[in-house]
Amino acid sequence: MAINRQIVAGLLIAACLLAVPFAAPYLGGNYVITLATRVVIFAIAASSLDLLIGRGALVSFGHAAYFGLGGYVVGICAFHLANDVTIFGWAGSNEALVVWPLAMLVSGFAALVIGALSLRTSGVYFIMITLAFAQMIYFVFVALKYYGGDDGLAMTSRNLFAGTRITNAQTFYWISLCALALCLLIQWRLVVSRFGMALRGAASNERRMAALGFSVYGYRLVAFVIAGMMAGLAGALWANLNRFVSPDMLGWVRSGEFMVMVIMGGVSSLLGPVIGAAAFLLVETALAGWTEHWQIAFGPFVLLVALFAPRGIWGLLRGRAGP
């Protein structure tokens, strides 16, 4: 029963996402496609966070750091190219196939360093130390006046994708959707693999896993790096979507929003964070279009989900059955 619902829900979500570009002309054109692109990009970031929160029981409150770093890599490469200033002897680049992997590498490296230090702690202390590191990166970019500081960094155009322009909203949506599909596929393979088993085992009983001879710390660190790289990709896409990066991308409010998306959608499920990202953005957009004071309604909505849907929206959809 549970499996059936899961498959049905998955197909339904996929159908909705695939239908967006075709339905958009009847719904409001590029506005709808851009909104859907935002959902897809946030879904990548939220699902990467769920790899930590859901599978690893590692509540990272600094996930925006990797998202923002990915964005800044894109922004800074474009900045150097546009202003004809080399960076470490490199002219910068506008090619997505160069810049996006670079963004993932930088975010992954940051996650490696931060994870290596943070994973020594656990529980609330882990929440706070990941937040602390993210805040440090945030303030570094606020202070970096050369790259715009508080005001952020605007890009003159989107990256080229294998030499072609991706200014078209539809094209960019398809690229983002492919990235999401790829990330979900990798996560699914990871979760059912030996690696995922070890990660989940450590989440439910760390000592037992250690006693079985698993290096819990190592598995967690690898998960941390993978999640950081995926968030970096989301950040690179986000920078391209808006052609703008700013320290807000790295701030703790953004980290909190990612967490809310994951929890609201449902932890430890492949589709939960996707639903969470969609619910978050769509409800927010709907309320903001209705009234300027949308937070008065959105706050209680979040609160009600927390109180009455402890397994998130996905948990409600899936029902009681299943693990």
């Binding site: 609201m264 008065i296 979040v302 609160l303 109180l307």
Partner: protein, 304 residues
């Protein structure tokens, strides 16, 4: 030398304000096991209640009781309506629910009062300077804030260390189930502690009002710093909150005042200013990361 003294006093004033916030937050977390992100909202609501009472009805002296009453009542209502359902939940639900509360309170203020920051006047009695040492004038108001902070800290110490209520609170933060099993009405105790924490947050808010502007988002800023304080001090420990507040308040104030100056010894002017500003902002997080790496449960872990 004069600058150093002034900054030390500023640091002390920030520390005592942070302590008012941290004391409530650390008790709520230590005893009830609830991560309350909306603690900063109570601080903001206290400041707004004070600022509105002062401008609409009149006078700073009315602002303080108004802030205390508003924050206390909202705190108790919050505990009864929302927080109470969260005790048995995991941290994730708590984060989600209290994040919703932050959005709600910010929305209500934006709707009812507006987004423009409010200014709050100091009482005439405290608006001057006091010469605390020859050639060293210091704002009377900040001294008064420190005085209140010290009195509250002492009062809190007395309540926690010397009264029956304090005994229950200490016992509750060590072994919650045992206290409840001994027949203590734990639900009322929780409401009381939460209300007390809200009261202190409101007090901090209204006292900071005349020093900084009262605006939406002031709660979130201070919330993160307060979390840093209680994590450095060790969650659940009042003593830890006090030491943490002193450490973080001093580091932050002195860092902001002197980091650019110190860096100028080695670096050129604008570079030192930029780096110094960054260093000053990240100083408290650096301290927290260092403390946690050396002592993963904070300086004074409760019940350890």
């Amino acid at each position: 030398m004069q600058l150093l003294f002034e900054q030390l006093l500023n640091g002390l004033q920030l520390s005592l304000t942070l302590f008012l916030l941290a004391a409530g937050l650390t008790l709520v977390f230590g005893i009830m096991g609830v991560i309350n992100l909306a603690h900063g909202s109570l601080y903001m609501l206290g400041a707004y209640a004070g600022a509105l009472a002062a401008s609409k009805i009149g006078g700073f002296w009315l602002a303080v009781p108004a802030a205390l009453i508003a924050a206390g009542l909202i705190g108790v209502a919050m505990e009864l309506l929302v927080i109470r359902s969260l005790y048995a939940r995991d941290h994730l639900s708590q984060v989600l629910a209290t994040f919703g509360l932050i959005l709600f309170f910010n929305g209500v203020i934006a709707w009812g009062v507006g987004r423009a920051p409010l200014q709050m006047d100091m009482p005439a009695l405290l608006s001057g300077f006091l010469e605390i040492a020859p050639g060293l004038p210091y704002p009377t108001y900040r001294l008064a804030v420190m005085g209140v902070g010290v009195v509250v800290a002492l009062g809190l110490w007395y309540v926690i260390a010397r009264t029956r209520l304090g005994m229950l609170i200490r016992a509750g933060s060590d072994k919650r189930e045992m206290v409840s099993a001994l027949g203590v009405d734990i639900a009322s105790l929780f409401t009381l502690v939460f209300g007390l924490g809200a009261l202190l947050a409101g007090l901090a808010g209204v006292m900071v009002g005349p020093i900084r502007s009262v605006q939406i988002g002031m709660g979130e800023q201070v919330l993160i710093t307060t979390f840093v304080v209680i994590v450095v001090g060790g969650i659940g420990s009042i003593r830890g909150a006090f030491v943490g507040a002193l450490l973080i308040g001093m580091c932050d104030t002195l860092g902001r005042a002197f980091a650019p100056m110190v860096l100028k010894l080695w670096l050129s002017g604008p570079l030192a200013d930029g780096l110094g500003a960054a260093l000053a902002s990240i100083m408290i997080y650096l301290v927290m990361a260092l403390v946690l790496i050396v002592r993963p449960r904070g300086l004074f872990p409760a019940g350890g």
